[in-house]
Amino acid sequence: MPRMNMVQALNSAMDVMMARDQNVVVFGEDVGYFGGVFRCTEGLQKKYGRDRAFDTPIAESGILAAAIGMGVYGLRPVVEIQFADYIYPATDQLVSTAARLRYRSAGAFTAPITVRAPCGGGIFGGQTHSQSPEAIFTHVCGLKTVIPSNPYDAKGLLISAIEDDDPVIFLEPKRIYNGPFDGHHDRPVTPWSEHPASEVPAGHYTVSLGEAACVRQGEQVTVLAYGTMVHVALAGAEEAGVDAEILDLRTLIPLDIETIVASVGKTGRCLIVHEATRTSGFGAELAALVQEHCFYALEAPIVRITGWDTPYPHALEWDYFPGPRRVAEGLKKVMAD
């Protein structure tokens, strides 16, 4: 089976879908000839032509609006927002049309679009190339939100997103494009090729939206994580010497509540880890759901390890990033009671 990093896996997903479905079109800033600033769309214009993979003006609102219009026509646009930090000009299109079109027209019109955007820090991108805005989208009713943590899932989830008839926000943690990253920024970078999830089928397959994956089975505590933080949580649990069950949520909306409830029901403890800022972050929703569903199983208060409630500071990146040391501390805290 071919080995792929996350960039190649995402490229392969779009390639497979463009070959299978003439209605799939790909566009965004620097996406066409150049193939995207992270190279995710490399070669697609050459293979499928300029009217199926093309560059756009720098106008995120325009990109989303055009995608919605094409979706209404019957196409399946896959658009790239160069960095998730630049999605805000498109907010009105996402919130007021994409998310509600099916509802407001009682199904007469829909927006079957996929919005890809690199997210997260770890590349010294400062406050405008590091954000994790997933909770902004999960708060909007009508948008699905996906965040993969490895190449196999990235491809399977992206194909599912493209085939899905609802709008999907597909956030790609840029720090793990080229290799898994456990938060130890001072250690050498490991490439994906040594990781089992870099074995990616060349053809079509899907990973269903709404299904979490258990990446480590354990008995003492459940860790809920997604994206880069899955790898950080694995390292943190190792370092804390705690027998943690680590769930990679993969899809935030729709959320795999059954898997979460079954795990917390078993362990009685829960740690939530995300890179995004804490207040009103997706961890708050997870904590609320866990206490609603598992209150009588809980043996200790739920703990959140997250980015601080500040913009992402350039030079102090590693003091901001919730690394394995903080995850280990969080695990010890949740185990203490």
Partner: protein, 410 residues
Amino acid sequence: MKNAAPLELHVPEPPARPGEVPDFGWLKIAPAGSVARPDIATPPHEMRGHAYTLIRVLDERGAASGPWDPKLDAETLRRGLRTMMLTRAYDERMFRAQRQGKTSFYMRCTGEEAIGVAQAMALDDRDMVFPTYRLQGLLIARGWPLIEMMNQVFSNTRDRLKGRQMPVLYASREARFFSIAGNLATHLPEAVGWAMASAIKHDNRIAAGWIGEGSTAEGDFHHALTFASVYRAPVVLNIVNNQYAISTFQRIAGGEESTFAARALGYGLPALRVDGNDFLAVYAATRWAADRARTNFGPTVIELVTYRASAHSTSDDPSKYRSAEEPGRWPLGDPIARLSGHLARLGEWSEERQAQLATELDGEVLAIQREAESYGTLASGPHHSPATMFEDVFKEMPWHLRRQRQEMGS
């Protein structure tokens, strides 16, 4: 229409891709001195042609001519030349520092130096400027110390922005230089707001804003023009058309069928389209627009036609999308060489003095760089303490941030 061919999507292409011969034949270049200079009180509809031509003062031989010649004395011209050269020397050193791993990122303005420098000289130092990330020449021309700029680039202990911003996203209240935004175009309508405030307070200061041609596609650009037009705000709105937005040629931004200056016309604003590599033309056009704004005749849009001679940033590799020969074929030349040639023609400069000054400026920049590095670099520190991260989110720190600061353990 029965027999019409099926519809086709038009996707603009640049004249040449890597491996093809670069061609700038599409750029219509008006002869130096040929464009009329209207009175600053001219109503916008009487000068629509200025959005489609190219105001030039310096010709190919370095001679200045025509009504736009600002007739600056040799001393002022040498100051302009020196500042452009200092900007380039600074860029080269910072670019190298990034390549040496001392910081994360850098952006040069190579080939675009006349824009920041001549415009800073044409504006009043008290005017408020809202720049992009490629206007370091503007900050340098305002006399802001290079050491301050380098401390920011290195995110060191003396960085006034406390290591919070990526390199080159400067901010200086003292230099009346607005905090540079990473989010494109957001600052342009803010410049208009500042100008409206100046009018509300019957002040005599104006605002100036800059935006790349690629970023004119953002809605915020159009908000700037609407508000500037409706309230006749005292503002100069500059579009720096350097032909590229990262990998995309300006046609993708809407430059194929019209000029960027002509965007102004639909809003009833006057526009000047200027040779951006001609120091004298840039100075004169900016002065015209500034005088117009200051005397209550309202805003002007200026398109500065130039060329991004180096990469978009240290993260970019232009050989992937444009021919390596293209920069050398840009027909409007290099702003430093052109002003230097003009001064030499006036008998006020020479190749020897040029070479000598270049060496001197590089030495000056290097000495300042050594000092800046003694306060730390991004790679090796020291930096501001992690606890400072929680400051300035709000004026007073709320309990949850104090608690998080404690949790961080510093």
